[in-house]
């Protein structure tokens, strides 16, 4: 058995990479994918703890997260498509309607 720390580190790395992706990328679809990466990192964390504590609740939670990620991806992409129809852009910089 690996020390749990390794799994945590892995999770942390993936999370940060996803965060960088969210911040850095201008293409909204890539941003959405980075979000999926973050969720995935969280899943690893949960499952690791679930294994090490012997409590299956972690995995149940991870399952729910997957379901939620699916729903969110669907809706998010739907919004994206609607937005693209209006504005002809997928660039986050140009989606600044909430600007002050």
């Amino acid at each position: 058995m690996m020390p749990i720390g390794h799994y945590l580190f892995l999770s942390l790395l993936l999370l940060l990479i996803g965060a960088i992706g969210v911040i850095t990328r201008r293409n909204v679809i890539i941003v959405l994918m980075s979000i999926e990466l973050i969720l995935n990192a969280v899943n690893i964390n949960l499952v690791a703890f679930s294994r090490y504590y012997g409590d299956v609740a972690g995995q149940v939670f991870a399952l729910f997260i997957i379901a939620d990620a699916a729903a969110e991806a669907a809706v998010g992409l739907g919004i994206m498509i609607a937005f693209f129809r209006n504005r002809e852009t997928v660039l986050a910089d140009e989606m600044d309607l909430l600007k002050w």
């Binding site: 020390p3 960088i20 994918m33 499952v47 294994r51 990620a69 991806a73």
Partner: protein, 175 residues
């Protein structure tokens, strides 16, 4: 021994794929690298003896969500030249902040290693062959204690489905 090899193998694929994903200009390339990352994650799950999640990850995440992503990417085809200019300022800020978080979280994790008993406090980590069957265990929990969240999740999916349909629908003039 085998454990660590498998771990480092899958972990390495995951991290490298992730890094590649966020740096590709082509969105399809990014999607493909995400798929590999997800597959690697599935491997990690398997290594952690979470068989059900391993399958669920592949079917749902890769087979469902990523396919959806690929569909949309191909739908929203944008010419590449537009994606040229990237903000340096933003890159460096992101990396800096991420590094700060990494450092702090890392310190916590590292410090936690000093605790006797395989790093962090482990309550009842059973050896691999003594574990109950994963799927059965999961099912017991899912339809037992966590029945309500399960049902809510299904409603959530329904709502998301309707929402997605409504959002993506072509607007026609009201009659």
């Amino acid at each position: 021994m085998l454990d660590s090899v498998i771990f480092y193998f899958f972990a390495g694929i995951a991290v490298i794929s992730a890094a590649l994903m966020i740096t590709r200009r082509n969105a399809i390339h990014s999607a493909v690298f995400l798929i590999t990352t997800l597959l690697a994650t599935a491997g990690i799950f398997l290594q952690l003896r979470a068989e059900f999640l391993f399958i669920a990850q592949i079917i749902l995440y890769v087979g469902g969500i990523m396919v959806l992503f690929i569909f949309v990417i191909m739908l929203v085809r944008l010419d590449v030249p537009l994606a040229r200019i990237r903000s340096r300022w933003r890159q460096w800020t992101a990396m800096l902040v991420a590094f700060a978080v990494f450092v702090q979280a890392g310190i916590v994790i590292v410090l936690a290693h000093g605790i006797p008993g395989q790093g962090l406090l482990i309550l009842n980590s059973a050896p691999a062959d003594k574990l109950p069957p994963n799927t059965e265990d999961l099912a017991k929990s899912l339809f037992g204690a966590y029945l309500l969240p399960f049902e809510i999740a299904s409603v959530l999916l329904l709502v998301a489905m309707i929402g997605a349909v409504v959002m993506a629908k072509k607007r026609t003039e009201a009659p």
